[in-house]
């Protein structure tokens, strides 16, 4: 039965009824009534961040590691504008997130009131949908609809802007069952014809590749399980985008590693040389395709995506399949098995021989050093010392992110949280806290660069407050490594502002925050130092001083095709031509 409540009570009740256990937020004038209600209850845990951007990334980390939507509560004006980066990040990476913002009272809207901003106007392009609720009676329905929109179809962020007078006024509360439904129900089941076309492609493919992405993970654990069945039963090689790592196990025998700009040589060559490409929940992003007109020129392409606008956006596909990954794979597998589970086994063997030859290049080879810690070596040791643990990895953005994707191995989905689409430096610290809050017993490591780390490091204060034992593993090269690499390749080694002339003492800083600080400069000490980090029951800042001018390879230079990868230091001269230099 609908019940009368204040708007603030409605907010808290709606969150409870939606199954929310954690809210990441920061109070302020325009959300005080909601915070007052949060004070009076114990069902929902509120995590006080140190900056609203941190709340959004923490909520993303929570969402990506659990499959549930992340919830953020912030005040009007600067509270809302500080959430914009996180909203855009979640939109690009399809992360379900509900951001609740306070707003000045309705009678002040438009008067340039204190801490007033046109929040729905500012966030319209960076949300799936947003609402300004002007009447308390509409608040409950809107909140329930917001959860539906965030989760339905391709997930994404939504925002509900709630003026302060709406929070104080009373109105009727409807439960999720009683609320008015929004007629927004993206199609999940694929067309039979499309399923059939994909089955026929599986049966006739001679040089196939499964090109998987974050959509497999977003579709749920069943999608990952079905993908594994499809791969194992067909024997097709599997690659994945940065977003999809873990949907097929890195320990699986069909795994080629990540593809794309800094992906594996064998994965990119297989994409280029395949005759049948099965794109499953990925979106032909420019980091993946390289030069579009030379992208996988000889292949027939099938594309499973729940978002119609992702299909045929960048690359024309022959078999478009609009649907949820799990729903689609289930039908494809059933149909394919019913028809005798046929593949061109005779041809597949030759394809694998070719792939093994590409693998033999060993594209991740780097020059080892006994005197200085190579960043790749640091990640190899981190991988070796954490293997077998219930481990969650977040990253910042840059070289360390790509090395982490190359050298760390994920056997399960939802264990890898990184800002893929937007490339947000500063994502990893708060995201690691969000993951740790969701999984208190797990090992959560943020692989960071010192520059990204400094963008949101204030959140360590939050980690200490909630006893979140996150490990900040900083590959410190005292450079903006990826910027420096591009300046070397593209701008005549003119390193314009890509190094920090002043960096804090991270060990002292750790101590100042109440964390443990560890510094390591010698490869011989690295294992012990990593073990010390892992053994410590609390947040750690690990300052790993690495080779300063290491470049991230392999690399598809901007404006080049998959088969024009750079493998090492020798071949970088003039690697990017004029047309490539305008790309990012």
């Amino acid at each position: 039965m609908p019940r009368e409540m204040t708007g603030a009570q409605i907010v808290v009740q709606a969150l409870k009824d939606q199954g929310v256990d954690t809210v990441f937020g920061y109070p302020g004038g325009a959300v005080l009534p909601i915070y007052d209600e949060i004070f009076k209850q114990n069902d929902i845990k509120h995590i006080l961040v140190r900056h609203e951007q941190g709340a959004t990334h923490a909520a993303e980390g929570y969402a990506r590691s659990t499959g549930k939507p992340g919830v953020v509560l912030v005040t009007s004006g600067p509270g809302a504008t500080n959430a914009v980066t996180g909203l855009t990040d979640a939109l690009m990476d399809s992360i379900p997130m509900i951001v609740l913002t306070g707003q000045v009272p309705t009678f002040l809207i438009g008067s340039d009131g204190f801490q007033e901003a046109d929040t729905v106007g500012i966030t319209r392009p960076c949300t799936k949908h947003n609402w300004l609720v002007k009447e308390t009676d509409h608040l409950a329905d809107t909140l329930h609809q917001a959860f539906h929109v965030a989760m339905a179809g391709r997930p994404g962020p939504v925002l509900v802007d709630i003026p302060k007078d709406v929070q104080f006024a009373t109105g009727m509360y409807n439960s999720p069952e009683e609320a008015e439904e929004l007629p927004y129900n993206p199609r999940r089941e694929p067309e039979d014809d499309a399923v059939m076309a994909m089955v026929e492609m599986i049966e006739t493919a001679e040089r196939p590749i499964l090109y998987t992405g974050g959509g497999v993970i977003n579709s749920g654990d069943r999608a990952s399980a079905l993908l594994r069945e499809l791969a194992e039963e067909t024997g097709f090689p599997v690659t994945s985008t940065l977003m999809g790592l873990g949907c097929y196990p890195a320990s699986g025998k069909l795994w080629l590693g990540m593809l794309g700009m800094h992906g594996m040589y064998e994965a990119n060559m297989a994409m280029h040389g395949c005759d049948a490409m099965f794109c499953i929940g990925a979106r032909f992003d420019d980091r993946i395709t390289g030069r579009l007109d030379a992208f996988s020129p000889g292949s027939k392409k099938a594309h499973i995506d729940i978002d119609p606008s992702s299909i045929n956006k960048n690359v024309h596909v022959d078999v478009p399949i609009l649907g949820d990954v799990a729903e689609t794979l289930e039908r494809v597998l059933a149909k394919w098995r019913a028809r005798g589970a046929q593949t061109r086994r005779d041809r597949l063997a030759g394809w694998w021989t070719q792939i093994e030859a590409w693998k033999a290049i060993k594209c991740l080879t780097y020059k080892p050093s006994k005197s200085v810690i190579k960043p790749q070596y640091a990640l190899e040791r981190l991988e070796a010392l954490t293997r077998g643990r219930d481990r969650y990895i977040t990253t910042e953005v840059g070289q360390h992110q790509m090395w982490a994707a190359q050298f760390l191995r994920f056997d399960e989905p939802k264990r890898w949280m990184t800002s893929g689409g937007l490339g947000t430096m500063g994502y990893g610290v708060p995201a690691s806290i969000g993951v740790q809050i969701a999984h208190p017993e797990a090992l959560v490591i943020n692989v960071a660069g010192e520059a990204s780390f400094m963008m949101t490091m204030q959140e360590l204060s939050c980690a200490v407050q909630y006893m979140a034992p996150v490990k900040q593993f900083i590959l410190n090269n005292e450079r903006l490594g990826m910027v420096r690499q591009w300046q070397q390749l593209l701008h005549g080694e003119r390193y314009s502002h890509s190094y920090s002339e002043a960096l804090p003492d991270f060990v002292k800083m750790a101590e100042a925050f109440g964390c443990k600080g560890i510094r390591c400069t010698d490869p011989a000490d690295l294992d012990d130092a990593i073990q010390e980090m892992l053994d410590y029951d609390g947040p750690v800042i690990f300052d790993c001083l690495v080779e300063k001018h290491e470049n991230c390879f392999p690399m598809i230079p901007s404006g080049k095709a998959h088969n024009e990868m750079l493998l090492g230091e020798a071949s970088t001269e003039g690697a990017i031509d004029v047309s490539g230099s305008v790309l990012v």
């Binding site: 319209r124 392009p125 929004l182 119609p308 606008s309 045929n312």
Partner: protein, 189 residues
């Protein structure tokens, strides 16, 4: 451009077809977009076009069903066919959008636009303007001794042609509604 200097081989078939030809490979399409009429809906649709760099040649919007709070947006856009498909996909995935129809592709449709055209002239020019308005079946909705305001309804080409013809006769101002369009025959949209 006027009716007398249509180049040889132009795609314009008559004096009523004076729209500039499109760049190679591009097409002009009229989309009918049915949306829930909630706050900010027009900003959402326009924001999609500007944010993704799509063209808008004309846009009209008005509530068409008050009881169910539905509005109809008619957008005339140009672009390569793949871009137009992208526009339709981007529109149809919006939460406020109920339905998208490509009226140019889905069989015959009727397109109309209304314009108010102010012409200030005296003597011969004034007689000529009035005579032209009769040819175009425009009606005079305001007159002074020195001016007319004509109301003209028709396809955009026809209004273009009339405006062109008024230019040398003392054209002062034009106000156009943008295109409203509807499918021919008994089916909806």
């Amino acid at each position: 451009m006027n009716a007398l200097n249509i180049p040889q081989g132009s795609t314009a078939h008559s004096a009523y077809s004076l729209r500039p030809t499109l760049p190679e490979g591009e097409e002009r399409r009229t989309l009918a977009v049915l949306v829930r009429n909630e706050a900010g809906v027009l900003a959402r649709v326009i924001g999609l076009f500007s944010g993704r760099g799509y063209n808008i040649e004309s846009l009209t919007v008005s509530e068409t069903d008050h009881a169910s709070r539905r509005s109809r947006i008619t957008v005339v856009t140009t672009g390569e066919p793949a871009i137009i498909e992208q526009i339709k996909a981007q529109l149809s995935r919006m939460v406020v959008v109920i339905d998208v129809h490509d009226l140019t592709m889905e069989g015959p449709s009727v397109e109309r636009e209304l314009a108010l055209i102010k012409v200030a002239c005296t003597g011969e020019a004034r007689v000529e303007a009035l005579r032209m308005s009769q040819v175009f079946r425009a009606s005079v909705v305001d007159t002074t001794l020195k001016s007319f305001v004509f109301e003209l309804t028709g396809a955009p080409d026809k209004i273009d042609a009339f405006v062109e013809l008024m230019a040398p006769l003392g054209l002062v101002d034009v106000s156009r509604t943008g295109v409203a369009a509807i499918k021919r025959g008994p089916d909806p949209m």
